[in-house]
């Protein structure tokens, strides 16, 4: 009898882990599709004022992405390429392509509350973390993501609230290695694009700078279109900067 109870307990734990893994894969698939093109507006609030940036992004799977800044005019043409966790930047003003070194990955991206690491390692939420269901409230499942032992990640853990009707997150809490919340992502205004659901309003709120925030509004989203491979070559940085 004891063995049967133990078996049921182990089985249920494994099933819950599998379910958590399934949920995270669906969430990740919703965010990426086969490939995705987005035009986004980024509103960065800091030091009492708000700056607006506009960008176009092209992403293929989990390893390739290309970002082009189109607004403000001062920053127009700045491009970023991410390939296999590496990142390059082209700055038209100085006509230089620069590889972002590992030591700079935690620096803010373009003065926002996103880091360079966020731009490169979005895939790691599935590959680098072990998910565990913490609780359920209706259709919302709270999942704790703890880093795998050999994963090169910067967060101590991530706690995410997933709405299982659309498989989108409505809130992510990022913890440091001491277990303190460092920043919070809020997601809202979930819209359907073909077979994918994605929140079209994101907001990042750093804990140590409560007056700062970065909002992202997805203005144009196209999933599973034909994106030229040329976007994911280093030559694209300069070529598509214009």
């Amino acid at each position: 009898m004891k063995k049967l109870l133990l078996f049921i307990l182990v089985l249920s734990t494994l099933l819950r882990a599998d379910e958590a893994q399934d949920i995270m894969k669906k969430v990740d698939n919703n965010m990426r599709g086969q490939n995705v093109y987005m035009q986004i507006t980024m509103r960065i609030t800091s030091m009492g004022h708000t700056r607006t940036m506009k960008m176009k992004t092209w992403a293929q799977g989990t390893k390739k992405s290309f970002v082009k800044t189109i607004y403000p005019p001062k920053d127009k043409g700045i491009t970023f390429l991410s390939l296999d966790n590496q990142m390059w930047q082209y700055v038209p003003k100085i006509e230089r392509t620069i590889k972002i070194p590992t030591s700079m990955m935690l620096q803010n991206w373009m003065g926002s509350d996103f880091t360079n690491d966020d731009m490169v390692k979005q895939s790691s939420i599935v590959d680098d973390y072990d998910p565990r269901i913490l609780k359920r409230e209706g259709s919302v499942v709270t999942i704790e993501l703890t880093p795998k032992e050999d994963a090169a990640v910067v967060w101590g853990k991530i706690v995410t609230n997933i709405d299982t009707t659309t498989y989108t997150s409505n809130k992510d809490l990022f913890y440091d290695e001491d277990g303190e919340v460092v920043r919070t992502f809020f997601y809202s205004e979930v819209k359907q694009f073909g077979k994918y659901y994605t929140p079209t309003h994101w907001k990042v709120q750093p804990v140590d700078k409560p007056n700062n925030s970065t909002e992202i509004i997805l203005e144009d989203v196209k999933y599973d279109t034909k994106i030229s491979e040329q976007y994911f070559r280093k030559s694209a940085l300069k070529r598509f900067s214009r």
């Binding site: 960065i44 800091s46 030091m47 004022h49 700056r51 001062k74 920053d75 700045i78 930047q89 700055v91 003003k93 100085i94 230089r96 620069i98 590889k99 972002i100 070194p101 030591s103 700079m104 620096q107 803010n108 373009m110 003065g111 140590d208 700078k209 007056n211 700062n212």
Partner: protein, 405 residues
């Protein structure tokens, strides 16, 4: 009683010479040890302050703990007006520090890029005098970059090369520019030389939208010993959103290291003095023990216990004074000489480079107050060492003492 004491000193030569030599050596050693300890700490501090850190630095509250563009001083001119009116402030200058990515055609490195007023920095820091190659900055040097030798090595750049900069401006917007490597410096502090670079503020301010802004204002004082008083005065006169911080806080790690070093130094000295104290006391005790009958006779002919006490007190007073009179000027002279002509320990700067030490020279500290308390302490120890022998000899009754074997 004094002449009797003098006669006893000359008669008991062994004990007298031992006490004299021990007192002489311990006085000389104590003066020189403390002078060396204070001198090396002072030298470490001066070196560290010379390189980059000011005696006092003024920040916006939160800059040192959290950092970021939100915590810049936004009205430098206003603070400078306050500083102009404070006595004891020899010089000051503002610095705009930011972190960004420097890239040559060969390599990239994360670096601290600092906008400085090159002329004001001369005399405030060692930046100009640590020039290795090329030229130091001037007000009109435009996009000239002055970088640490180890940072330049990382970038694999040479004088005249273009170095691109990518970072965030003071309003958090994107900033990028091409600099020209005009000069390299070496302070001896590896961390600093591997991460710091400088550019003239007149140029950098435009790129970073940093006019009248600063990460902090650094000050040099006419007298470093006045740092706490001046720091308090500044605190009362600047805006409450700012803080004035002395080198003691800024260089907390170094101060702690110096304190620990001093504590261990004094512990070693205490052990040394315990040995000296007991040796003098034992010699005094042996001497007194062999003179019990003599003291008994003196008591029988009418000398009181107080007179015996006075006799032994005079003996130690004469011996100690003679030794101290010889040791003190000698110790003071050596301390004075080496305070002007420091001796050199090859490789010392290498050992202490994490504290910003840039010199192998170790001066001794010459301070009359310190020498005075050193001498008084030796005097006290000598007098303490005679207490037990006095108690011992006075425990005998006169007749009993005359029969003592």
């Amino acid at each position: 009683m004094f002449s009797l004491a003098l006669k006893n000193i000359l008669f008991y030569k062994g004990r007298s010479i031992t006490t004299f030599v021990l007192t002489f050596v311990s006085t000389l050693l104590f003066i020189l040890y403390v002078a060396l300890m204070d001198g090396s700490h002072g030298s470490m501090l001066q070196n560290a302050l010379k390189v980059y850190t000011g005696s006092i630095e003024i920040y916006k509250k939160g800059y040192r703990d959290i950092g970021g563009n939100e915590y810049f001083i936004t009205d430098v001119a206003k603070v400078e007006k306050v500083l102009d009116k404070i006595d004891g402030v020899e010089k000051y200058t503002s610095r705009y520090e930011t972190y960004g990515l420097l890239s040559s055609s060969e390599n990239s490195a994360a670096a601290m890029v600092v906008g400085i007023n090159p002329e004001k920095e001369i005399g405030m820091s060692e930046l100009s005098s640590t020039l290795v190659e090329g030229t130091y900055l001037s007000r009109d040097s435009g996009n000239c970059l002055y970088a640490g030798v180890d940072l330049v090595k990382k970038l694999r750049a040479k004088i005249g090369d273009e170095v691109s900069f990518v970072g965030g401006a003071s309003d958090n917007s994107f900033a990028a520019d091409l600099f020209k490597l005009c000069g390299t410096f070496k302070t001896g502090s590896f961390e600093f030389d591997a991460s710091a670079s400088f550019i003239t503020r007149s140029y950098f301010d435009e790129l970073m939208y940093a006019q009248n802004k600063a990460s902090y204002i650094t000050l040099k004082l006419t007298d470093l010993d006045e740092v706490d008083t001046i720091n308090k005065e500044i605190e009362t006169k600047i805006d409450s959103s700012l803080e004035s911080v002395s080198w003691k806080v800024l260089m907390h790690a170094m101060v702690e290291a110096m304190q620990v070093d001093s504590i261990f130094g004094y512990i070693s000295l205490v052990l040394f003095f315990v040995v000296i104290f007991f040796v003098i006391m034992i010699f005094g005790f042996i001497n007194v023990s062999s003179r019990v009958r003599e003291f008994g006779t003196l008591r029988c002919i009418g000398l009181s216990r107080g007179k015996i006490r006075l006799l032994l007190f005079y003996e130690i007073l004469i011996l100690s004074t003679a030794a101290i009179i010889l040791a003190t000027p000698l110790g003071a002279y050596i301390a004075y000489y080496y305070s002007i002509h420091p001796f050199v320990i090859e490789g010392m700067s290498e050992t202490y480079k994490q504290y910003g030490v840039v010199s192998d020279q170790v001066p001794l500290s010459f301070d009359l107050f310190t020498i005075s308390w050193n001498v008084i302490l030796i005097y006290l120890l000598n007098f303490l060492s005679v207490i037990y022998p006095i108690m011992y000899i006075n425990s005998f009754r006169p007749i009993e003492a005359t029969h003592h074997v």
